[in-house]
């Protein structure tokens, strides 16, 4: 009873919040940030150039932002769930109408001080929104037609807006994040299985609707040697880089594949390739281990949380992070076709890091306020 009283009091002070902080998660995030900085430094050829500086600034700013977010009560995050979603949808529409065009797609909006990619924010926002949606719902109502349809609309709306950019990769990641929430919210297994079967059956039809460059990516994935200097170049060079790293790697700043510019997009989607080339199997496993600890901590925080919303958010966010990592790594290791998907924190890119850090901020807030129940 006493406990209950203490925790429901609103003058829950700063120091007790600090004591409740998840230091393991924090340490892992900082370590990851440090590794990503070092790797970025390597992609710049061992000099502090644009990418390193920019990445460093973002890392500092967003980490501070995350810390601030973690002191904001989880109730606040719950309350802004729908609002946040609507804002991002608005931004996506804005992107569709007035976005910046670059290399054939329209994904960014100009905010004068930063070019924002709203689709990246949607990845976190959809979890927040759906977690709020299912928070109060009774388990028997979860599988009602109304609940399923409205949650599907919540997922499909941003997906559609992202697909038209066009950005298939991000829209798939958004839908996966959304589906993760649906899964944890308790929607019947059958629906997932049916959807999966339906998806597999309709796969040939979907492929016929793909854009030529997307078809090429699929074909290239199935056989990278089909066009080793064209479409298959990325996969082949990436595999060469990772494979040539060996057990201990070629050493920091000594990755010949990236240093000699054989690696494509080494700052963004293929950053793991460079890391893996320089630090080898040991380094790669270590990096995976850090990610695993982060995911484990997020899940643990979810498990400790009193509120269903926090649980739902943490579990789904952990699942999403896991999926991003898996997709990115599978892609560079030649297990999946090339879809644009950044590696959280490691990859260069402000919006992606912003979204991830917002996620971490909310998770940390859930940890700090883990005894907070939401009505």
């Amino acid at each position: 009873m006493y406990q209950h009283n203490r925790l429901t009091t609103n003058n829950f002070n700063f120091f007790s919040k600090l004591a409740n902080f998840d230091y393991i998660l924090m340490a892992c995030i900082l370590l990851l940030g440090f590794i990503s900085l070092a790797t970025m430094y390597s992609t710049d050829g061992g000099k502090i150039l644009f990418h390193t500086k920019s990445h460093f600034t973002k890392l500092i700013v967003f980490t501070i932002m995350m810390l601030i977010f973690s002191f904001i009560n989880i109730k606040f995050w719950f309350s802004i769930g729908y609002f946040f979603y609507v804002i991002i949808i608005g931004l996506l529409i804005w992107t569709y109408l007035f976005g910046i065009k670059s290399s054939g797609s329209q994904r960014w909006i100009d905010l004068y001080f930063i070019n924002l990619q709203p689709s990246e924010l949607m990845k976190i926002c959809i979890i927040l929104c759906l977690a709020k949606y299912f928070h109060r719902m009774k388990l028997e109502n979860v599988n009602s037609l109304y609940a399923i349809l409205s949650s599907l609309i919540i997922i499909l709306l941003p997906m559609g807006l992202v697909i038209v950019q066009p950005d298939l990769g991000t829209s798939l990641l958004i839908s996966i994040s959304g589906l993760a929430v649906l899964w944890f919210a308790g929607i019947n297994h059958k629906y997932f299985i049916y959807t999966m079967i339906g998806f597999l059956i309709s796969l040939p039809f979907i492929i016929s609707f793909l854009k030529p460059y997307q078809k090429l990516r699929v074909l290239t994935f199935l056989n990278p040697d089909r066009d080793p200097l064209g479409a298959g170049y990325q996969i082949i060079q990436s595999k060469i880089a990772v494979g040539s790293g060996g057990i201990f790697g070629k050493g920091f700043l000594k990755g010949t594949q990236s240093y000699l510019e054989f690696l494509p997009e080494k700052h963004t989607d293929f950053i793991f390739t460079l890391f893996s080339e320089e630090f080898g199997f040991i380094g790669s496993v270590f990096l995976l281990l850090i990610y695993a600890i982060i995911i484990y901590r997020i899940v643990a925080i979810g498990a400790q949380s009193r509120s269903y919303f926090a649980k739902l958010f943490c579990y789904s966010f952990a699942a999403s992070i896991f999926v991003y990592i898996t997709i990115n790594m599978s892609m560079v290791l030649g297990l999946l076709p090339i879809v644009g998907s950044p590696l959280p924190i490691m990859s260069y890119g402000g919006s992606s890091m912003l979204a991830t850090m917002i996620g971490f901020g909310i998770v940390m807030s859930a940890k700090v306020h883990n005894q907070q129940s939401i009505a």
């Binding site: 494979g243 790293g245 010949t256 893996s276 790669s284």
Partner: protein
């Protein structure tokens, strides 16, 4: 509240159960990722490491250093020299236009050359080497070096290139080198392997035949390159091997003498060791300077060589099919003796142009208007009586003659497949005519074959071999020009006798001696009385066109006849007569007469050859002395 809390419990159960499922799935996927990493980085590491090295390391081959040719005494007759070249790597030049115009002024390039360089520059990548000039004079080279301060990115380079110190003297023995073309690369594995742009390869002669040994192997520079092929750093320099140097059997002094003797005339001189078959000299005149071809011959020079009526490009020694004329007579005589048609006492009456030999209405004249009178073999050979040889050829028949001729090396390549340009010549027979022309043999053709006219054709080197084999007492030899030729295994039938009765060879040798050293001999005037140099020979005068009655009446002197219609002058000889060692064949195209044109050359040749014999022997003995 109870309701709600029980629902909460249910919800929590559900979410925790699902979290557990998700967690397990995550775990297995993680294991999958790690095992994929393990597969790529540990198991397949070697494969990808090689691929990565292939990516980043690129080899640059440099032209190999070509093996040299040495003469018998070790003098370099085809060597290498340092060529001064000017290279530019366009990307290292700040202002290419300025630099190239500056070079144009300094080297005094004409517009044509300048345009060629600009065109070449546009064809290559900006980090590849542009060869502005491949053989600069020292003066221009030093001029460039003096102006290097404002020629950024220009590299004066010293590169190794072919040089023929004796100029045109050896052209028809060793040939020349020039830039390899696509066909050369396609046809020769060694060239393909060692090819670099600008590689010089043998185009004719021994340079071509021994390409494989001479070419050597490339120096290899390994560079680390980036994805765009730009060199980042040099990793390794692998020194190539210089091509094998070949020592030839030729004697430069004799070869030079041959060049002098045939100066301004078309023809050929061969000198051969009659026991070892070593070719001491082999010259075809006129020759040309092979150095002209090394850096690509200019159009003007090429036209001069190509349009020369004396045909310098034809190697007359190996490629020239000539009627042997009277030089065939020793073989005809030998064949007649061997087949028992005649003996030394057999006599024919030569009655001059008033009473020529007549067969089926066709007349066959001796060269001597007044006739020789009664001739036996020795006299007939000595004075080269045609009537005598008409008669014995008629009795002998062409088939038996051709059999002997072939035995002595006529009608097939002397060097086998060493020179791909070598001609076979032609030794006619009844069977040959039937096959080749579809006609039957006519007796008249046998008669003229007896004096080396008609179908019969020989190359000068064949005549030399024939002479050598008569001189050495009738034993088979295999001529060679390269010492330690790995390609050749020693033939088994070396030194097998070619005669049925060695006495017959002696008779022919004696007749040839008479021809040179006795009064009335056709080459008597070219004799040397000193037994040290004394040689025996046989003159020959090969008709280029049929002699008509009108010609016979006019009886023009050589200089009165147009050049192309003059007879070829031939001479074959061997010496010293006692203890013979060397055989010589001389051919002067349109030289008029064997005894006046060709035989005097032999006199000068034998002087030099025999004088140098001691020296030649001492080279061989030297290796024992050194020990």
């Amino acid at each position: 509240m109870i309701n709600s809390s029980s629902d909460n419990v249910k919800k929590l159960n559900s979410i925790n159960r699902r979290m557990f499922i998700t967690g397990s799935v995550k775990f297995f996927i993680m294991i999958g990722l790690v095992s994929r990493l393990f597969f790529l980085q540990v198991k397949e590491n070697k494969k990808y490491l090689t691929l990565s090295d292939k990516n980043r390391i690129r080899e640059w081959k440099l032209a190999p250093v070509r093996g040299e040719f040495h003469d018998y005494f070790g003098n370099v007759i085809a060597g290498n020299f340092e060529a001064y070249q000017l290279h530019i790597i366009p990307e290292q030049v700040e202002d290419f236009r300025y630099v190239i115009y500056r070079i144009k002024d300094l080297l005094e390039l004409n517009d044509k050359e300048f345009k060629r360089i600009i065109k070449k520059k546009n064809e290559i990548k900006s980090w590849e080497t542009l060869i502005v000039s491949d053989n600069l004079s020292w003066k221009k080279f030093s001029k460039i070096n003096n102006h290097l301060y404002d020629l950024n990115g220009v590299k004066p380079v010293i590169s190794i290139s072919r040089n023929y110190p004796f100029g045109s003297n050896f052209t028809h023995v060793i040939g020349y080198v020039s830039q390899a073309n696509e066909q050369d690369i396609e046809n020769n594995e060694a060239i393909k392997k060692n090819f670099v742009p600008g590689l010089k390869i043998g185009k004719v002669g021994l340079e071509k035949s021994f390409e494989k040994q001479l070419i050597g192997s490339n120096d290899i520079e390994r560079y680390e390159v980036n994805a765009y092929g730009r060199r980042i750093s040099q990793l390794e320099f692998q020194k190539g091997e210089k091509g094998k140097s070949l020592r030839l059997t030729v004697d430069t002094k004799v070869q030079q003498l041959s060049n002098q003797l045939l100066k301004d005339q078309a023809g050929s001189i061969c000198v051969m060791d009659i026991y070892t078959g070593e070719v001491i000299a082999m010259h075809s005149s006129p020759s040309f300077d092979p150095n002209l071809f090394v850096f690509g011959i200019s159009q003007d020079d090429w036209q001069i060589i190509r349009n020369d009526p004396m045909k310098p490009l034809v190697n007359k020694t190996l490629q020239g099919n000539y009627s042997p004329g009277s030089t065939i007579k020793p073989i005809v005589a030998l064949s007649a003796l061997e087949n028992g048609i005649i003996n030394t006492n057999f006599t024919v009456n030569c009655r001059g142009h008033k009473h020529p030999l007549e067969l089926y209405g066709q007349t066959y004249h001796c060269w001597k208007k007044q006739g020789h009178g009664f001739m036996n073999l020795r006299n007939a050979m000595k004075q080269s009586c045609d009537t005598y040889f008409y008669e014995i050829a008629r009795k002998l028949g062409v088939d038996r003659l051709s059999e002997t001729a072939k035995k002595f090396g006529l009608g097939k390549e002397v060097f086998g497949n060493l020179f791909n340009i070598e001609k076979k010549g032609l030794v006619p027979s009844t069977q040959w005519k039937k096959n080749a022309l579809g006609q039957s043999w006519v007796l008249g053709e046998t008669v003229i074959t007896g004096i080396g006219q008609g179908y019969i054709q020989t190359t000068p080197i064949q005549l030399c071999l024939m002479t050598a084999q008569i001189a050495n007492g009738g034993y088979k030899i295999y001529p060679k020009i390269v010492i330690d030729d790995e390609n050749k295994t020693s033939p088994i039938d070396k030194f097998t006798p070619l005669y049925k009765n060695s006495k017959n060879i002696k008779i022919v040798q004696d007749a040839m001696f008479a021809s040179t050293n006795e009064v009335r001999g056709t080459s008597y005037r070219s004799r040397i009385d000193d037994p040290k140099y004394q040689f025996a020979g046989k003159t020959g005068t090969a008709q280029v066109k049929k002699i008509t009655e009108r010609d016979r009446e006019l009886d023009l002197k050589t200089f009165q006849i147009p050049y192309e219609e003059r007879d070829h002058a031939l001479y074959i000889a061997y010496g010293p007569y006692k203890n013979p060692r060397y055989a010589v064949s001389i051919l002067v195209e349109h030289g008029g007469n064997g005894s006046t044109t060709a035989a005097p050359m032999a006199k000068k040749l034998f002087k030099t050859i025999i004088d140098r014999h001691q020296l030649r022997e001492s080279i061989n003995n030297k290796k024992y002395l050194d020990i």
